[in-house]
């Protein structure tokens, strides 16, 4: 049996909104350490990996491992009903065929309860090896979102080039080309505005902007984003959630012959 209370329902809403266009159905894998999800998009180009640690909930209780098969379009519609100051309790019984969501507002007398029917989702689970990335870039997530959106003007593909002390995003198409350069800034008072570049060796890789724009929707979830790149390895885009709740990671296979 699962019972978990999330202080802010909006957190789950933002996660689902960022993922729903990539993933149609997926399993929430629940055990005593938390709730995890891994799913590829239907084209098998990107992979979404979510971890919500038990510590981020209060209370959290999960007696035994269960996989809750969820249709994301349905869940997204229900999460739209989350008010800004609602907390959220999710429940699933032994052998349950529904996931229950209860929204409670701290300052009103309204309680909303939704039951979503569970599905049998046939999920492949991929093993993601630990990687020592050549470049790791931390930047404001809003900045990342804007770069992806701006460069989409010119092309469907962006080349990310990390060199010493600078990261360059380049897109080139039929009507012209665009490039945006981001440089590290050491002393910033707001943590989220920080830009850092850790470089083992220079890398230059091409990725689909369509997918990056999808990932960038998670900018509402975290003020910072971390991009990790190495040759011949998928890009990892990580949004770390506040209060040690966990992370939402996206992996994206590179495009070849385009960098």
């Amino acid at each position: 049996m699962l019972e978990a209370r999330l202080p802010s329902a909006v957190t789950l809403k933002k996660i689902i909104d960022a993922v729903k266009e990539l993933v149609q159905d997926a399993n929430f894998d629940c055990n005593d350490s938390g709730i995890a999800l891994q799913a590829m998009d239907s084209s098998h180009v990107a992979l979404v990996a979510l971890l919500m640690r038990a510590e981020g909930f209060d209370p959290y209780r999960c007696d035994r491992n269960i996989a809750l098969g969820i249709n994301f379009a349905t869940l997204a519609k229900v999460m739209k009903c989350a008010g800004n100051d609602d907390n959220l309790t999710i429940k699933a019984g032994e052998d349950a065929d529904v996931l229950s969501l209860m929204f409670e507002s701290t300052n009103s007398d309204r309680i909303s309860e939704f039951d979503i029917k569970l599905m049998d989702v046939d999920a492949d689970h991929l093993g993601i090896p630990e990687t020592d990335y050549s470049a790791t870039i931390k930047m404001p997530s809003a900045e990342f979102q804007r770069i992806c959106r701006d460069l989409s003007v010119m092309s469907e593909t962006v080349t990310i080039e990390a060199v010493k002390d600078a990261v360059k995003f380049i897109a080139s198409g039929d009507t012209g080309s665009g490039s945006i350069t981001v440089k590290p800034n050491q002393a910033v008072d707001k943590k989220d505005m920080e830009v850092t570049v850790q470089l083992q060796e220079p890398v230059k890789l091409a990725f689909s902007l369509k997918y990056l724009n999808h990932f960038a929707k998670a900018a509402t979830l975290a003020g910072s984003v971390t991009l990790s790149l190495s040759d011949d390895v998928p890009l990892m885009v990580e949004f770390a959630m506040d209060n040690d709740l966990g992370y939402l990671r996206f992996y994206l296979a590179p495009k070849i012959g385009d960098e």
């Binding site: 149609q24 992979l47 070849i256």
Partner: protein, 182 residues
């Protein structure tokens, strides 16, 4: 120095083609009487399918076999076919229907659901039908695949749907070529 705007490249188009097999027969539908390849017969296909599961569901609905989970859908890969102004990528799937079917009834059902004439044609009879060249290429994949399948034994996955769709951009690598199934 300034330049004229460039000539348009052929339009890109991706369609999903289902080779629906019952016994030794395959389902064919007929193209509209007008337009490109008018009146030719083809394997059921749709451009707007978002993923393979949708295809299975559509086939299940056509054949009224109830729970579409019973259908085996196997991805055979992609074929590219060039028209004068279209570069068409066909993603080809193979579905084997094991339920006892009345070919006449199901063809009628297909006509109603697909809004186009439909018929079941034996594999050997496909040559006699007016089938377009592109569709023949798509069908050829089945021969190749069946050899592979035989080599690999009959370990075809019963629920292969989640693995079927491949990216249509040839430059785009698949994530599963990097991360392995556990």
């Amino acid at each position: 120095y300034p330049r004229k705007s460039v000539k348009k490249p052929p339009r890109e188009e991706t369609i999903h083609v289902a080779l629906v097999q019952a016994g030794d027969k395959f389902l064919l539908t007929q193209r509209p009487k007008r337009g490109l390849l008018a009146g030719l017969w083809e394997f059921p296909n749709r451009g707007e399918l978002v993923d393979a599961q949708t295809a299975v569901d559509a086939v299940g609905q056509i054949l009224d076999v109830g729970d579409s989970a019973g259908l085996k859908l196997e991805s055979l890969g992609t074929v590219v076919h060039l028209f004068s102004h279209i570069r068409q990528t066909m993603e080809v799937y193979h579905v084997v229907i094991s339920t006892g079917l009345d070919p006449v009834d199901t063809a009628d059902a297909c006509t109603a659901v697909l809004d186009a004439p439909a018929q079941w044609v034996a594999k050997d009879g496909l040559d006699q039908e007016a089938v377009s060249t592109g569709m023949k290429k798509a069908f050829a994949l089945l021969g190749k695949a069946s050899k592979k399948t035989k080599a690999a034994g009959s370990a075809a996955p019963a629920r292969a749907s989640k693995r079927a769709k491949v990216a249509s951009d040839p430059k785009q690598k698949s994530i599963s070529s990097f991360f392995k199934r556990e």
